[in-house]
Each structure stands twice: as C-alpha cells, then as structure tokens.
C-alpha cells in the first residue's frame, strides 16, 4: 500500500465528482419520470448512449461540436417522446411488474437497434476544448471533467428555472405531487407524462455527450450507466431531486475512492453494494410509506 498524497486523494475525489455528475443527470431523469408517472424507467441509460452516439454521428458529418451537441439532445428527446407514446402511454394502468418489464424490453430493443445501426466497434468524440490536463494541488485531471461538472451545473440551473419559475414546470411538479388533483385543475397527465419523458431523455443525452470524450462510446455503454444512475436515484430516496444530486455525487466519489484505494475490480460492484445497503436501511421507512395502511402501524 503506497503512500497517497493529498494530490492523489484530491484527484480521486474530483474525478469522482465529475463521474458523479453524470449519475446525477441520469438519476434526475429517473426521478422525474417516477414522480410524474410512477414508472421506474430501467431504460434511462439508453438515452445516455443514444446521446453520445448521435453526437458522434453528427460530428462525423462535419457538424460543429456545439451544434452536434444540441442536435443530438433534440434527437434523443424526440426518441424519448416516441417511446412514451408507444410503450408507456397505452398501459398507464398496468401493474408495477408489467411496467418494469416493459422498460426492460425497451432498453433491450434500443440497445439492439443501436447495435444494428452503429455496430459493435467503439467510437470517439473529441474533448470539447483541447489542451493539456490541468492540475490543482497535485491532482491531475482532463479538462473534459470541468466540462462535465460545468454542463451538469448549468443543466441543473436550467431545470430549476424550468420547474420553479415557469408555468409548465409548475404543472409538472403538481402532477408529481398529486396526479388526481392536478388533472382536476386541468393539467393533463398524458401531456405531463410526455413532458417528463422528454426532459428525462434530454438529461440522459446531455450526460452521454458530455462523458463521451472520456470513454469509449459503444452500443452497450448505457446499461451500466443507467443502472448506476438508478442507484443514485434510490440513494436519494427515488422521489427527491436534491436527493438525486446527493446520491449521484456520493456514488461517484465512493466509486472513485474504492476503485483507487481498494481494487479496481470493485468499481462496478460498489454501486450495487451501496444500493443494497441503502435499500435495507430505508426499508422500514420505505415499507411504511409505500404500503401505507397495509403495514401494522
């Protein structure tokens, strides 16, 4: 066990924060869909993959990076809306099991189509700005990581503005709090569901594009990301947006620290171990809340 300096710890933590930001974006998408529609979208990670893939494709058509970014987000948003119309809307009253299985099916289908369209070879996206890695107090990090955290922060601000200051956002929140009351006030649950999916797809796409330069873009990159984003959402309580932020960042840092300090093989396992611990810890509270009157009170 060699001596770690401040710089090493800092590096692990900072890179954990940047990865965590990705998880935050994905987790927010999951929380939003869950709050508004009650569906647990296990296909969330696929929007991330699609975002990265489309960005790569547009960029390869010589579209400038920024435009490729926006075009990709738009494309994925439309895809998300299409999915909502086709698979979630017709069965909104189905059981939890059915809905979860449907999202799993959607995830498999998207992955398969991606394989068909883009093949299994990895793709690359250049970093948003060139330049040498920068260093803070001995921690060396790629500039893209700044972009990740910065973009995530910007998106969070935009989201906050949307949800808190615009009528549409307030309608969305109303729907999340009490669907029936909201619909009685004229807020259509079907439109809100569509909006929730659109926003979540956009969030996922942003996450994918922004991490693309740091990783291999492959047709199956969405699976693990989606699952980890999910863990982050659960850590935050599944229904809370600030919780998702905390969950994502926490997960990113935990992952980074254990991979760096204990074993890199543990990297993927950490997320799920944390998941189990959190679920068990929450279970009494959770069961009481979810089951309501069924539980002996």
């Amino acid at each position: 066990m060699h001596n770690y300096g401040i710089g090493d710890y800092l590096q692990l933590i900072l890179s954990g924060i940047s990865t965590g930001s990705i998880y935050v974006l994905i987790a927010l998408g999951i929380v939003m869909i869950y709050n508004v529609t009650g569906v647990i979208n296990l296909a969330q990670g696929e929007y991330t993959m699609l975002g990265a893939m489309f960005a790569v494709t547009y960029y390869s058509w010589r579209v400038p990076l920024l435009l490729a970014f926006l075009a990709s987000v738009l494309t994925v948003t439309l895809i998300g809306m299409l999915i909502e119309r086709l698979t979630v809307n017709p069965v909104r009253s189905a059981s939890a099991v059915t809905l979860i299985i449907i999202t799993v099916g959607v995830s498999i289908t998207i992955r398969g189509i991606a394989l068909l369209v883009w093949g299994s070879t990895p793709y690359f996206l250049p970093e948003f700005t060139g330049g040498a890695p920068f260093s803070i107090l001995g921690a060396v990090m790629s500039r893209q990581r700044l972009w990740i955290v910065g973009t995530a922060g910007l998106v969070l601000l935009l989201l906050y503005y949307l949800l808190d200051r615009t009528l549409l956002g307030k309608a969305l929140r109303a729907c999340a709090i009490n669907r029936q009351a909201a619909s009685l006030m004229g807020v259509g649950p079907a439109q809100m569901s569509l909006l929730a999916f659109a926003l979540s797809a956009a969030l996922g796409a942003v996450a994918g594009i922004v991490i693309a330069p740091l990783t291999l873009v492959t047709y199956d990159m969405g699976l693990m990301l989606g699952l980890k984003g999910f863990v982050a959402a659960v850590i935050g309580g599944l229904t809370s947006a600030p919780g998702a932020v905390v969950g994502g960042l926490l997960l990113g840092v935990l992952e980074s620290l254990s991979a760096g300090l204990i074993s890199s093989g543990l990297k993927d396992a950490i997320a799920f171990l944390v998941l189990l611990v959190v679920i068990l810890a929450l279970s009494k509270k959770v069961v009481g809340r979810l089951k309501g009157r069924r539980m002996t009170k």
């Binding site: 869950y34 939890a96 799993v104 099916g105 289908t109 189509i113 993927d268 279970s283």
Partner: protein
Amino acid sequence: MNMQQFWRRRPNASALMLLAIVVGSLPLWVKSSYLISTGIFVGISAILTLGLCLLMGYAGQISLGHAAFYGIGAYTSAILTVRSGLNPWLAILIGIIVTASAAYLIGLFIFRLSGHYLAVATLGLGIIVYLAFGEFRELTGGPTGLPGVPRLAVGGFVFDGDVEYFYLVWSVVIVFLVLSLNVVNSRVGRALRAIHGSEAAADSVGIDSSRHKLQMLVMSVVFASVAGSLYVHYMRFVSPQPFDFTASVRLVVMAAVGGLASVWGALFGAAAVILLTVVLREFLPLVVRDASGEHTVIVYGIILVVIMVLMPEGLTVGLLKSIRWPSFKLKT
C-alpha cells in the same frame, strides 16, 4: 358438486402424460444433434422459468436477478466437483442447500420491501453475484471460467451423449412440473393466490404472507440451482457469462411470454423464446446483411414490449382467450 367433480376439472394429468410421450419419443424422430442440444437448453430454461413463475406469478415478487441463483448452483457444482473431486450428485445437493439458505436469508430482509424497491434490490443482488463470479479467481476461475467439470453418472451409466442428457433433463422437468402443480393446487397455492388477490383479506384469514412468499422464494431458487448444476454437467465448463443481468432479463422474458402465474406457461414461454432465438439465428442473416446472434436481442426486446402491452397475462392466456377456449381457467 362433490369432491370428484371438483378434481376432475384439472386437465393436468392428461397434459403431463402428453408431454411425457412427446418428450420421450422426440429423440426417435429428431436426429439432428443441434436440435437435441437445443432441446436440452429448452429443458433447463423450463426449469428456471418454472421457478421464476412460481415466484413472480404466485408469490407476486419481482426478481430481476434470478440468474444469480442459477449461477450459484452451477458454480457450486463445478467448484466442488473440479476442485474437491466431490460426487456430482452430492454437489448438486449442496448447491441446493447453499442457494436455499442464501435465498432464505435474503428473503427475510428483502420481503420487507415492496414493488419497485424489491425489483431494484434483486437487480442489484444479481449483478453483485455475477461480478463476484468473475472476481474470486482462485475459487471460480475468474472471467475465463473453470473447465473440466465431470459428467453425471448413475452406477456405471454415464450421461455422455446428448440423447441421454436430453432424457435426464426432461425427466427433471417433468418431476418439477408435477411438484409445482401439486403445490399450486394445494392449501399453499391457494394461500398464495389469496395474497395476490388481497393481502388485507389474506391477513384476515390467518395467512402469514411473508412466510409463504419466503417459501416460494426458496422453492424457486432450488429449481434454479438444479438447473445450474444440470447446465454445467452438460457444458462441462462454467464461466460468469451465462449468469449476467441479460440472462436474468431473458428469464423474465420467458416467464412473461408464458404468463407469470402459469405453471404450464413457464414451459411454453421457455420453449417459445428459445425456439424463436434459434429460428432468428438461422433466418435473420438472410434478411439483414451482417446480422449476428447479437441482433436477436432486438427481437427479444420488441417481443417483450409487445406482449406486455397487449397481453400482460402472457402468451398462453392471451392466445387461449383469443381462440375462445371455453372452460379455460387461469388456475393452471
């Protein structure tokens, strides 16, 4: 109505006999080793799906990590026979004990959760177990796996060829079918259906929900463990790959296609999905250039979505309803 009439409504005995005849005679007129081998995989998948249907359909618990138990049974058999030279049948028994105990412990915690949290917890557990298979190299052989698993043998007779193994696997399938049908058509089965119908009412007639759900979990896991052991003694090799998240999903697809609360549906679902995969593997490359086995994955996904949207009770019930089978009751 008397007791005789009540029992005569069960077509199960005749169906079982039909199955036994079909399966028994299959190797006589199917000579292709590839198809027999496929038949073996259908049988193993049927055992797995049967357990999952009992868990998801009757006990009403989602499991997105069932392949983990399949894997634990497989690895237990492999490790004990390869590294310790233990008698394979004993190893299978130990596999059953290990998975059952693990499931019991897990169930004690996990059944406090409901719906979404349960699904997620099973997903997480499944992935952790899968990752563990790849991590502990000295024990499991790591990602490259563990070769040299011996064949199963009874007395002097070794289950060497595909045909013998086919009979072995399907004998197990039939036995497990019988056991499942017996449980479903019993006090326990009724208690489970009651829990499904209304937990509050089930409480009011003295049914301890957690205990019954736990029992079903253990039963389904025992099935998975046996399936895993059968798998490794056929492949004579074990690796983490067949026990990943996708495998768990595939099992859920099979269960959903067959109809979650249906014992016969489990068999049907497993057969349908595997046969479809085989068919696609043969024909897809003719339709789509450069298509490979990986592309069949799309079809899984589409099937899953279509079925769950249009026929959530599964293909068996959906199809039978559409051809208006008159006396069909959901009790199979």
